[in-house]
Amino acid sequence: MDRTPVIVGIGLSDYPKTPHLDGVQHHALAAQRAIADAGIAKSEIDGYVNASSNMMIDDPVTMAEYLRINHRYIDGTMTGGSSFEFHVQHLAAAIKEGLCDTALVTYGSDYLSRMGRSLGTGGFQRPGQRVAGPIQYEVPYGNSLVGAYAMYAMRHMHEYGTTSEQLAEIAVGVREYATLNPNAIYRDPITIDDVINSRMVADPLHKLDCCAITDGGGAFIMTTAERAKDLPNKPIYVLGAAGAQTHWNISQQSDFTTSAGAQSGPEAFARAGLTPADVDMIMFYDSFTITCLILLESLGFVGRGEGGPFIAEGHLRKGGSLPMNTDGGGLSSCHPGMRGMFLILEAVRQLRGDAGEAQVPNCKVALAGGSGGWLSCIGVAILGNEAPG
């Protein structure tokens, strides 16, 4: 019996703005579509995984009840936006070990319809609020989510001479892919000048260095290569997955030029028996342009400090040597708060050869690099459309 873990079904809910759906409905709609895509019976699902956005509403046990999943394996690992790459890591082990045979992972969020665009700079605490826990050491200072990432960009520019133009190239390239996605929230092409001339939100990050806020949901089904033999889709193999954490709160990062990907990247490649040169396309968590640059360097695609010049050469664009975020990314397409789910779904779409105009030619290996928190928890999943050797 071949228990190699594979992804056999994917589903997206509707996005970018869906005021008629709440978060739970996004979970459910995506689950319906993933189950239909996989061609399995719902009753086959014996593993359930999610990362909650709202305790008591869409946490794993509440959603398992809502969806009526008779699970013998459940995981609610919540590392922020990278949760779903960690889920792939955990499920790969669980499926190999036989803790479950067929698992469903879901995500859903109505962030844009419910909260508007408050995530980046809205503030999380009320005036005069008393705050416990490690965040008590940060709340008096009024940092924003954008500000946390801006401190990486500022330090990286200081140490390596990285420029705003180099970061802007990331936003421009991802937007180019968004023009091919009819559901993307932003579809008009932009230039480097557009990015640089957009409003400064937290120096050195401009408005167009920042991701969108949308509604959305996604789901995928993982099972064994054995089970996949009888299913309609070409199985997508989990070749290697790993996760690591340097800090959670931004004030506990000790090096603002790198990330925990420097640990989880090499581990994922070692498990896959591959190197960055073997990767045909990347799905990076583009919460901000700088997030992609830090991931690119820390996962080992380029050396430290080499990201800016590499990006400026256009490698990440459509037609480049390492196309990135072919669905239009979080920067321009879909970002309901935790984008890691969509990294997996788009990687699978590419590996199936179903990406239409955005298809990366000859795509055999795709890497999903998720960042959770403030470049805190970096999960890496390397997927391929050929069975591992």
Binding site: T121, Q125, G128, Q129, P140, Y141, G142, N143, V146
Partner: protein
Amino acid sequence: MKNKVRSATEFLKPLPDPDAISSEYWRAATEGRLLIQECPTCGHRQWYPRALCTECSSDTQWLECSGLGTVNTFTIIRQYGMQPFKQELPYIVAMIELVEGPLVMGNITDCDVETVRIGDPVLVWFLKIEEGIGIPYWSPDA
């Protein structure tokens, strides 16, 4: 070494809710003292204070800092939705590298935000909010 303490007339920002360990940190700040922790076993120094040394898991001791540091990285916050920060825009959020080692977060005040650079020397000062809670801030150390 004692550093400058100013008293707040009205403080509307979010505040720490002190716990068994952090209460000593916030109280020292009302007296003009910046505390970090040092491990008597392995020498590791850490901020924020915790119930153990993050390197070797031993008990830690308090270490009173000089209040001197340099800017490791920073940003100028130009957009923020919540008051009273909104009315203070633009302002600096920075990570300060203490001469004693650890990085700490804070605002850099008493300067033109456009002039701040990585590597600038800074000096701590404290805003006493109430009995038992002082907040460390930083200003350029000319």
